[in-house]
Amino acid sequence: MIRRFFVDIGRNVISFMYFLGGLTNLTFQTVYLSFTPPYNKDRVFEQSKKAGYDSLPIVSLVSLFIGFIFALQIAYFMQRIGSELYIASLVALALVRELGPVITALIVAGRVGASITAELGSMQVTEQIDALDTLGTNPIRYLVVPRFLALSLMVPLLTLYADLIGIFGSYLICVLKLGISSSLYLNITFEALLYKDLFTGMLKTVFFGMIIAIVSCYEAFNVEGGAEGVGRATTRSVVTTFIMIIAADCFFTALFYFIFP
């Protein structure tokens, strides 16, 4: 009984180490192959369109609603203390520093990461990835690198877009509902935002993009057991990316807090 408990713990620790090792290995190979020729611009472009452009509708919708919700929730307290003017600066800071990056990354993880794992996972179980190898094409170069580059480029751009839409949502509430004048709202927003807010917010999303690409490809390459395995891998890929994005966010927030006080 006790022995079994420790055996289980040991097994889990070992498999976790394998997982970390596998991720690190894949990351290094991907980064190395990203910066060595031959480059394939077309495939990066294709993946950027899939990950970036095609995500625009859902990112717009979600960040617009987040803007509405946030403005209203903050208004509730700000009206009590009579400082509605600060709604603009609070919303801007919260969106640009935190909500925009994380919400965008989670949307992309759910939408794009899941589809990557499902697509590459099916390729794995139908031996298409082996076939790539036997045709002398490195599957990491051919499949992972374009997705890696596309996501680490697109997640920051989507975040910037989400920030703007979110601020616009809050602007609508404040100007149309709470009677703050339009020019005053914009002034306060841009006064509150510093370059470092934008910079720290965007920088971490580059890493979020990398996490999504690497984890979802890693899970796909390790699919075992047919269609059921693909389903399991997709779930695991989304859950793992969510956890890793939040953990990375926590890390970066702490880091920036101390290096850009």
Partner: protein
């Protein structure tokens, strides 16, 4: 004296403490068609994957054209892979690409052939497998037998010296199966391709083989030309080629129960 193309020397491989290959040795001469027979799940596909270096052996060596696969630079491996083609069991066609893009994949990626020449090479390979003019279809629109033949076209399009077939006739109708067999024989006769065919379809084995090797419990237990195998006195081989439910193979299974 024919030269050796593939040498498999005492190769062992285990998955989860289960020994799939157990010091297996096998030599294949240049231009020869060797058929490996054995029950499903006895490790035939694993052996093929070792020969294309998709899997690395735990122990032992694999030499292809004088090069040791276990000790080779990635660059050498790539150029070696241009000489070897593998036809996968389910075809393994890339389903995001058209049939023509699938067949021409190796040429586009590595030999940088473009335009008219590419189209000609692709069409030539497709016609060889009896599927002229289907280049614009997607793999999802093809039947199982057609997929297998397209996979074969993809394999021969890069003009390889070695072709490995993983159960080429499984799951196709008898007529398609026969045309695939005929194709394997033609490639062997005309292009002098060295082939390894993994199968448990004995009809196909007798038809295409120069030599048949039987795999059992991770080893090659019998080797010989089709005539010798048919006249075998080895009880395991006898049971397998005659498809008998009772015999030494199933007895060992009974013991495990």
């Amino acid at each position: 004296m024919p030269s050796l193309m593939i040498e498999i020397i005492k190769v062992s491989k285990s998955f989860n403490n289960h020994k799939v290959l157990n010091e297996l040795s096998l030599n294949i001469n240049t231009g020869e068609t060797c058929v490996i027979i054995g029950r499903s799940g006895c490790g035939k596909s694993v052996l093929l994957k070792h020969i294309v270096a998709l899997l690395a052996p735990d122990n032992g060596k694999i030499m292809i054209d004088g090069k040791d696969l276990t000790n080779i630079t990635p660059l050498e491996l790539n150029s070696l892979r241009m000489k070897i083609s593998m036809v996968f069991q389910g075809g393994a066609l890339f389903d995001s690409m058209t049939v023509a893009e699938n067949v021409g994949f190796g040429l586009i990626e590595h030999q940088h052939i473009k335009g008219k020449e590419l189209l000609e090479r692709v069409e030539e390979s497709l016609c060889l497998v009896g599927l002229c003019g289907i280049g614009n279809l997607m793999p999802a629109e093809l039947s199982g037998g057609m997929k297998k033949r397209v996979a074969l076209a993809r394999a021969i399009c890069i003009k390889p010296e070695i072709i490995l077939y993983d159960e080429p006739t499984t799951g196709v109708d008898p007529i398609t199966a026969d045309s695939i067999n005929e194709l394997i024989v033609t490639l062997h006769d005309k292009l002098k391709v060295t082939s390894i065919v993994v199968t448990h379809d004995m009809r196909s084995a007798y038809r295409v083989a120069d030599r048949i090797a039987m795999m059992y419990q991770g080893k090659i237990i019998a080797e010989g030309n089709p005539g010798e195998i048919q006249r075998t006195e080895h009880p395991v081989v006898y049971q397998f080629i005659n498809g008998l439910a009772k015999g030494p193979i199933t007895e060992t299974l009974e013991q495990f129960r």
